[in-house]
């Protein structure tokens, strides 16, 4: 039969109280910070997954910022192309109107300044800036896309943004693609041709310039459609990213967080266990001995 000594009781009590005290401390921490996994050893598999998940969340947040940037610049480009379309439409209508043989030389001469104003406004539309600088200057974003004469100062560089894991979208168009496409009509040159025809009081040339302006307007409309398509693509990607962020957050919570009610109930349970152990230990250590009976 196993002899039982007072010290055995004390050793067992110390060990048990220490274990219950540690358990209570752990539950307190979990109830306070709400984390089931605070360090890798709490759950190595979950901790490893958390590192990769947090990386995905951070990348996702950056992709969302990129989407916001893209949308901002694309909106600016869209507004600018809307203005350009309107300007070219006004110029075309003016050409149609002034090409008429009944229009006097003075009337045509008076219209020159109007066309010059339209050209300046078209240059301004081509020189709009966004977060990145000049929207239509290709990679030369630190300078205007066009000089005052409408000469292109940018390059053919294409702006590409990462808007998802392995998803890179082209954002915007260069000025050359919009106002002077290869094999297409040069919007600025068309306006210059109209201006020259008005100055020369040449009805046929005015009509020809009007036709060129119509082509240029069509080109800008098509470019605006491309910008619209880019906005649509990026917006859709933004929605995907928002969904992903939600999924990442839910998955992270499932991996590392502890349910509040569960944490509280485990804390109460641990408190109760320690309290009971303390009471029982005190009673056994104090009373169950011959020392007090003799």
């Amino acid at each position: 039969m196993l002899r039982v000594t007072e010290r055995m009781g004390r050793m067992t009590t110390e060990r048990e109280l220490s274990r219950l005290g540690y358990d209570l401390l752990l539950r307190q921490r979990q109830a306070t910070d709400g984390l089931r996994v605070a360090r890798p050893s709490d759950d190595p598999v979950a901790a490893r997954a958390v590192v990769e998940l947090d990386d995905s969340r951070q990348a996702n947040a950056q992709h969302q910022r990129n989407v916001d940037l893209a949308i901002g610049d694309l909106d600016v480009a869209d507004d600018a192309l809307y203005s350009a379309t309107e300007l070219l439409q006004q110029a075309r209508e003016l050409a149609l109107q002034l090409a008429n043989g009944a229009i006097s030389t003075e009337q045509r001469a008076d219209a020159v300044s109007t066309v010059q104003g339209l050209r300046e406004r078209l240059v301004a539309a081509g020189n709009v800036t966004g977060v990145q600088g000049s929207i239509f200057a290709g990679h030369q974003t630190d300078q205007p896309a066009y000089d005052i004469s409408g000469a292109y100062l940018g390059d053919a560089g294409q702006r590409q943004l990462q808007v998802g894991d392995g998803v890179v979208e082209r954002v915007g168009l260069s000025g050359d693609e919009v106002f002077r496409p290869s094999g297409g009509e040069d919007a600025f040159a068309s306006l210059a041709a109209l201006e020259a025809a008005l100055t020369a009081d040449d009805g046929a040339a005015i009509a020809a310039a009007g036709a060129r302006l119509d082509t240029a307007r069509q080109q800008v409309v098509e470019s605006r459609a491309q910008i619209g398509a880019q906005i649509g693509t990026v917006l859709k990607q933004g929605e995907l990213l928002a969904d992903q962020d939600l999924r990442y957050s839910e998955r992270r919570a499932a991996l590392v967080e502890i349910d509040g009610v569960e944490a509280l109930s485990e804390l109460v349970e641990a408190q109760g266990a320690l309290q009971s152990a303390l009471q029982v230990s005190g009673r056994i250590l104090n009373t169950l001995s011959l020392v007090g009976q003799l």
């Binding site: 007072e6 190595p44 990769e52 990679h139 943004l161």
Partner: protein
């Protein structure tokens, strides 16, 4: 008359035995809570005397209750528990160094760097985005440098601790040897050396816990202390242990046995707490450092390769973003930002001239985040490898916690068994107290009776 007189002697022997028993019971009671104390019992026998009736009771000595088999098991288990406990405690420190799950940990810093590249790709001409890349790169460098220096500091702290523990152990070994000599002397002259044996057992338990030594008692009762098959204490002679830098351990301290001009390397044989510390210093920290160095080197190499291919705003090209050693060795400690790369030298552009709106190279840098050949021997992304590092240290600590719990349970079980045999039960001592008290009263009564009988005889 002679018979009556011898009856008085018999009564007196009972009084003497009861008094000795009471004294020993008192000693047991007083030391019920003394660590290392083994309960004692009076060894008494019937005294030879006149034929037929005997000569009373004789106290032959004091017996120290001891179970040698359990003692050996407790010692071995104490060494295992010391090893597991020290290893678990130190591995938890390694975990805080390389297993940080927060944004400032290795994994978080890697993510931030690649996100900053993505931001730079979106706004390559923006000074803020460029500052952000430099800041994120600096944070990653700091995370690696800091982890590396903390691992260094941990190894140095372990060295210091090993040195102090070995010095303490030398004092304890010398005391064990000295006690051997005194015990032999006392017991040879028929004395009781129980107190000295208690002290010796306490020292041996401490040595087992700190160094994992093993001891056994020889036929002459002398304790021999062994470590890795080498004798540390033999009779009344102890050898010294020393700590000395060991090239095979990267210059860290090893444990050497010094016996005259002979020196024996014992580092691999040391157990107990020091063994656990050495295991963490030489294996776990080494493994963590190797992984950390390789990760720093892999990320640095991949980023440098992509960065050097691009162009800065000032047209510069061929610049590394990070300064790295030639190989992965100590890469985490040595990785640094290339001071030649500032805002304008950050190679966001992929075309010569470094057009401010050209973020193609920054995009290539950002896409390294998803490149599954960057780390882990060409099989993982940088973040996956950082996650693997976290998973690895988590598993190591988790296993160490389980090992420590098992070792503690085993030790507690064996200590309980030993205590059951060797410890003092106050209940038992109370019973014996009454027993000896009654025995004393009875013996006194015996003497009183014989005295009265003698008195009556004298009156005749």
């Amino acid at each position: 008359v002679g018979g009556l007189l011898s009856g008085l002697g018999v009564g007196y022997s009972g009084i003497a035995a009861a008094r000795a028993g009471l004294q020993l019971t008192s000693q047991n009671i007083n030391n019920a809570n003394t660590d290392g104390y083994h309960r004692r019992r009076i060894d008494q026998s019937s005294k030879l005397g006149p034929p037929v009736f005997g000569g009373g009771v004789s106290v032959d000595g004091v017996v120290r209750i001891e179970n040698r088999l359990l003692g050996t098991q407790v010692e071995t288990s104490g060494g295992r528990q010391g090893f597991a406990s020290a290893r678990q405690g130190l591995l938890s420190q390694v975990e805080t160094i390389v297993g940080d799950l927060g944004e400032d940990g290795i994994g978080g810093s890697i993510s931030r760097l690649f996100s900053s590249f993505s931001q730079l790709a979106a706004t390559p001409g923006d000074g803020g985005a460029r500052d952000q890349v430099l800041s994120a790169a600096n944070q990653l460098v700091n995370a690696f440098n800091h982890a590396s220096s903390r691992l260094d500091a941990l190894q140095s702290a372990i060295d210091d601790n090993v040195e102090v523990t070995v010095q303490q152990a030398n004092g304890q070994l010398a005391e064990v040897a000295e006690l051997n000599g005194r015990i032999l002397q006392i017991e040879a002259s028929g004395g009781n050396a129980a107190e000295l044996r208690d002290r010796q057992d306490t020292l041996l338990a401490e040595l087992a816990g700190s160094l994992g030594v093993q001891s056994f008692a020889g036929a002459d009762g002398q304790t021999t202390v062994l470590l890795g098959g080498m004798s540390l204490v033999q009779d009344d002679h102890a050898v010294s242990l020393e700590t000395a830098p060991n090239a095979a351990l990267g210059g860290h301290l090893g444990v050497v046995l010094v016996a005259g001009s002979d020196r024996h390397e014992l580092t691999a044989d040391v157990g107990g707490a020091v063994g656990g510390q050495l295991a963490v210093r030489d294996q776990s920290v080494g493994d963590a450092r190797t992984r950390l160095d390789q990760l720093a080197f892999d990320i640095g190499t991949a980023v440098n390769g992509a960065h050097a291919a691009g162009f800065g705003l000032d047209g510069s090209t061929g610049n590394d973003l990070f300064l790295l050693p030639a190989s992965a060795a100590d890469a985490a400690g040595q990785i640094a930002l290339n001071s030649a790369v500032g805002r304008d030298q950050l190679a966001a552009a992929s075309t010569a001239g470094g057009a401010p709106g050209d973020g193609a190279n920054a995009l290539a840098l950002a896409q390294l985040a998803d490149d599954a050949t960057v780390a882990g021997g060409g099989a993982r992304t940088a973040t996956q490898e950082a996650g693997a590092l976290v998973g690895w240290i988590g598993s190591e600590v988790d296993a160490a916690i389980a090992e420590e719990a098992a070792a503690s349970d085993e030790l507690a079980h064996l200590e309980t068994l030993a205590e059951s045999e060797e410890g003092v039960s106050l209940d038992e001592e109370m019973v014996r107290l009454i027993e000896y008290q009654r025995s004393y009263q009875a013996s006194t009564r015996v003497m009183q009776v014989f005295d009265q009988m003698l008195e009556q005889l004298m009156r005749l």
